[in-house]
């Protein structure tokens, strides 16, 4: 109770004595613990030796004889370094092209007036609604026609234009005072020079927010790469993990599955724990990825 009072010391004086908010808080704490249990199990099961037997697999108390065998097994069976490389390549490729497309389009919406602006604005907005994953069937056909079936480029292509990114950059560019651009204009800077040296450097927070959203969402993509990729050596982490899980499930190797899952999500979790504030504020702006 003392602890609870300490947490409420900055609440308005009049409401500090109320009991309902505190019950809600306790319930939330309880649920937060429940929310963490799958992660806790993943960590404990990864370190549990196979000799503990299948019946102790669910035990959340860590084993007294921790082992790295599961990690080694997962590493050897799963070809995870190759999957990680593919995922990194996909995310980086998408992000680089997106940076170019959203900067240019964002600038056009923020600073130029042109015929059909409203129409084009709504056309961009439509992409937010027609989430690309719904259009997997026609897009797979197109990717195959372009000769990009079973290539990483084929996985990346549908995401090269981003309405969300465009709107984010438009907002960032609109906040930049026009005086800066006017000064550069007098110095004879061309349009691309102005974008490159004024707008882009001043919008870094928006770029990093967009990068976080873009990378996490494509790191997690599954159905689309599953359809486009056929060769095992081109699988991204998610597809690799699903194949790995299906194999290991047959032999009831739950420790190995936990270790494989840990390896797939560890990069994201570590990055999140370091840049927590930035992640959270980026996700608030995202709404739709």
């Amino acid at each position: 109770m003392k602890l609870l009072e300490a947490l409420w010391k900055d609440a308005p004086l009049a409401t500090r004595g109320e009991i309902t908010p505190k019950l809600g808080f306790l319930l939330t704490v309880l649920l937060a613990i429940v929310w963490l249990i799958p992660f806790l199990w993943m960590g404990v099961a990864t370190l549990r030796p196979a000799s503990d037997g299948i019946n102790a697999m669910a035990e959340l108390m860590p084993s007294l004889k921790p082992t790295l065998d599961n990690i080694r097994d997962a590493w050897e069976i799963g070809d995870f370094p190759r999957y990680a490389l593919n995922t990194t390549f996909i995310c980086a490729g998408i992000l680089l092209v997106q940076f170019v497309t959203i900067t240019l389009a964002g600038f056009a919406f923020a600073r130029l007036s042109f015929a059909g602006k409203t129409l084009i604005f709504y056309m961009f907005l439509m992409q937010l609604m027609l989430v690309p994953v719904l259009l997997i069937v026609p897009n797979l056909k197109l990717v195959a026609q372009l000769g990009l079936y079973d290539t990483l480029t084929g996985v990346m292509m549908p995401f090269f234009a981003s309405a969300f990114g465009t709107f984010l950059m438009r907002q960032a560019f609109e906040a930049i005072p026009t005086e800066l651009e006017d000064a550069a204009l007098i110095d004879g800077a061309s349009l691309f020079q102005r974008i490159r040296h004024i707008y882009v450097p001043l919008s870094m927070p928006s770029f990093s927010a967009f990068a976080i959203i873009s990378v996490t969402s494509h790191w997690n993509d599954f159905l689309w790469p599953l359809m486009v990729i056929n060769s095992p050596d081109k699988r991204p982490l998610t597809v690799g993990l699903s194949v790995f899980t299906a194999t290991a499930e047959g032999t009831q190797a739950w420790g190995t599955i936990a270790a494989g899952t840990l390896m797939v999500i560890a990069p994201l979790l570590v990055t999140f724990l370091i840049f927590q504030k930035r992640f959270i504020s980026s996700f608030v702006t995202s709404g739709i990825k």
Binding site: A108, M129, L134, N139, K141
Partner: protein, 316 residues
Amino acid sequence: MSLAEPAALPVATSAAPRLHVLKRFSSRFKTSLPAYLLLLPSLVFLALFTYGAMGRVFIDALYQRATPKAPVRFVGLDNINAVLADPAFVGAVVNNLIYAVGTAIPSIGLALLFALALSRTHAVNSALRAALFLPVLIPMVAASALFLFIFLPNVGLLDYYIGRFLPVLPNWLGDPDIALYAIMVITIWKNAGYYMLFFLAGLQAVPEDVMEAAHLDGAGPYRRFRHIILPELKPTFLFVIVIATLNAVTQVDHVFVMTKGGPSNSTNLVLFYIYQQAVEHYDIGKASAATLLTLAALMGLTALSFRTMANREGGP
């Protein structure tokens, strides 16, 4: 008009009086050209993978092959009729509706609870927020791998800790009456923390002094919630409901990893049905027809959310 010229200039020139319509059109086009060039890269990809894709769905839905090797022939609405008559599709739609309602309401409710409980910022609340947000970050496939064990009969986490209190151990993923609800648990676990962020942002708009004044007037926590906080959160609710519905249609990775739509189609969802038709049955006509129907169903939602989103993005 070259790219080097100032952005503000075109506005002045386009207002020139008494120009011939065609001339005026071409001068308007010329002044707009830089903007079009900047938009071109984005528009090319949108044209290929969004608008073009929609057009291709429309056309593909009208054609069918007699055998996998036969040439396509025009069949009109046959594909649509075939999909509508397919009990697997109807089942997937019903499942998807249950899934949408059964995931949206609990996850939004929990998100609101979390946001209300953790709205004030200090170290403890930040840690709790991070804990609740963790599932949002991880791939659905990874979540599925963890929950495969949690739901494992007899030795799994759920049976190990809770099963001993139940008279009969349910087979969480193997029982057609339960599997869909088991799948829903994962979605709720994964999304509640995401929606919490929007409610946290929305709660910032509730003025603290109004809350305190209401308290002085004798309004308890429930009445303050009902009459001050809820009305203030209305736009947030609309927005989150739209996202939750979209997620209910587009997040099917766990169905693929955990149940493949089974047992006996009890966890088949619309997007997974589309995937099956296209990849497993090589039936592009039926897959396109199902996609078309799904897109059409989302149009109602689109109309609603277009306005919300256009407002959010600040209008054209």
